[in-house]
Amino acid sequence: MRMRDESFTDFFQAVREINAKYKTPRIKMTPMVNASLVMLRFYLIGMVLLLAYKFATLVIR
């Protein structure tokens, strides 16, 4: 049990280190990059909403 706890701690520590390492995007935020990332966010939100709608309609049936 103790070993398992340690490995989980190691895993979360690794995730924290990755988050810290890549905290700041290295790419220069030009208008094109910004616009692309905003559009991607909207696209993903749209896809998730559609999936949620589909799931809801399946559950209601």
Partner: protein
């Protein structure tokens, strides 16, 4: 001997050419031929049965599309020496990095399940039970990566690419009217007009052309193979040959079902192979072997694409040249994916059909991000340098391709969610 340049030393002209051929053929051919995986073969056989030879011209167009997208991964990998997962983390930060990583992991695992479905269905035609197929595949694919050399792994995988060409002799066996094939296949037209079914099939064929795993796989393979900037041209040739082969296989697949099963609604490639058996036993058997091979190639590349990605993200050793003790997590993750997907296929009553439909929808959430990141990275002069960044012409072509791919893949995904979206 890792690079093309090293191979070009000594020997006669013929030997030099053969050495070069052996060295350059690799990630590009592999990724392109593996693109014709179990799902791809099902799409092509269904297309041939539904529309005959009428959509061959459309398949020809998909070759350059696949080439232009995958060629970018060659340049990016050779210049940055980083896989796509690591490149996304580094350039766009941890939010987009984690999103891409988790979405890729889920999409790849679901696709791996669909490859196992294809492999077990293909060999079941010969009376081989599913559990035996899964066991053989897991043991074989395990042995393939545990031998400890990228080079050997790649060459074994290329042998399976050769087997994928089995659809060519299969097409000759069914003796199609070649004149009709050429006449109706080459001239662009839409048999029956732009109906809902036609739109669905066009989107399905585009959907199988570029999958997110392909972008991640080829870039990581380029890095693991050790391609340098001076080898980019050879990587491009490799990719061009691969895109040619993928189109050839797709066309001959369509010819087989177009000639033998016209008007039949095909739900899976295994169903097509079974239906073909009474018409031409050898051609049916070849279809079944081809389906197994397609699933195996897909599984080989997809599982590795996930393992490379996790190694890149967590900074673990992740090369096929590493021994197990040097890269334990890389190999452990590979086997975890393989075994879990294989076992799931064997569970009676598992919702496999739902999962295979779901995989397309999940893939569509990742594909736009992967492609947009690819183009943005290829336009970053700081990263790519003036010499290797996209030219204006490349940008025009690639933007057009990426936008079309996103629109059509999203359309296909929406049709999966809402089947009557475009009518029938």
């Amino acid at each position: 001997m890792n690079t093309v340049s090293k191979a070009y030393l000594g020997g006669s002209r013929v030997m030099k050419f053969l050495k070069l051929l052996a060295v350059i053929s690799g990630p590009g051919i592999l990724v392109m031929v593996a693109d014709n995986d179990a799902g791809g073969i099902t799409t092509y056989t269904a297309t041939g049965a539904k529309f005959g030879y009428g959509l061959i011209w459309f398949l020809v167009l998909l070759g350059p599309i696949a080439y232009f997208v995958q060629e970018m991964t060659v340049r990016l990998g050779a210049v940055t020496k980083r896989g796509h997962a690591e490149a996304i983390f580094d350039a766009f930060g941890s939010f987009w990095g984690w999103f891409s990583f988790f979405d890729l992991s889920l999409t790849n695992w679901l696709t791996l399940v669909s490859e196992f479905i294809g492999m077990t269905a293909g060999l079941r035609i010969f009376g081989i039970p599913g559990w035996l197929t899964v066991t053989i595949v897991v043991v074989f694919m395990g042995a393939m990566i545990l031998q400890g050399s990228y080079w050997t792994w790649e060459k074994i995988a290329l042998v399976f690419c050769l087997i994928n060409i089995i659809y060519v002799p299969a097409a000759f066996l069914v003796n199609p009217p070649w004149e009709t094939v050429i006449r109706t296949g080459i001239i662009p037209h839409l048999p029956g007009g732009l109906t809902g079914t036609m739109i669905f099939f066009l989107m399905a064929n585009v959907g199988t052309t570029i999958a997110p795993w392909m972008v991640f796989f080829q870039q990581s393979a380029v890095v693991d193979k050790g391609l340098k900037q001076k080898d980019i041209l050879w990587g491009q040739i490799d990719t061009a040959v691969g895109s040619f082969l993928t189109v050839v296989v797709a066309i001959f697949c369509v010819v087989v079902t177009g000639a033998t099963l016209p008007g039949v609604n095909i739900q899976s490639a295994a169903e097509a192979a079974l239906a073909l058996m009474p018409i031409n036993h050898f051609a049916g058997a070849m279809m079944a072997i081809g389906l197994f091979d397609a699933g195996l190639l897909g599984a080989i590349c997809i599982s590795l694409s996930s393992s490379w990605a996790i190694g890149e993200v967590f900074g673990w050793a992740h090369s096929l040249n590493n021994k197990v003790r040097e890269a334990p997590w890389f190999y452990a993750y590979y086997f975890f994916l393989l075994i879990s997907a294989g076992i799931l296929v064997l569970i009676p009553g598992a919702p496999l059909v739902t999962m295979t439909l779901f995989v397309q929808v999940v893939a569509t959430t990742l594909l736009p991000a992967a492609l947009v990141f690819l183009i943005l990275l290829l336009n970053n002069e700081e990263l790519m340098g003036k010499k290797y960044k996209n030219t204006t012409l490349q940008n025009v072509i690639n933007f057009a391709i990426v936008i079309s791919l996103i629109v059509l893949s999203t359309g296909y995904s929406l049709t999966t969610l809402f089947p009557n979206l475009f009518g029938q």
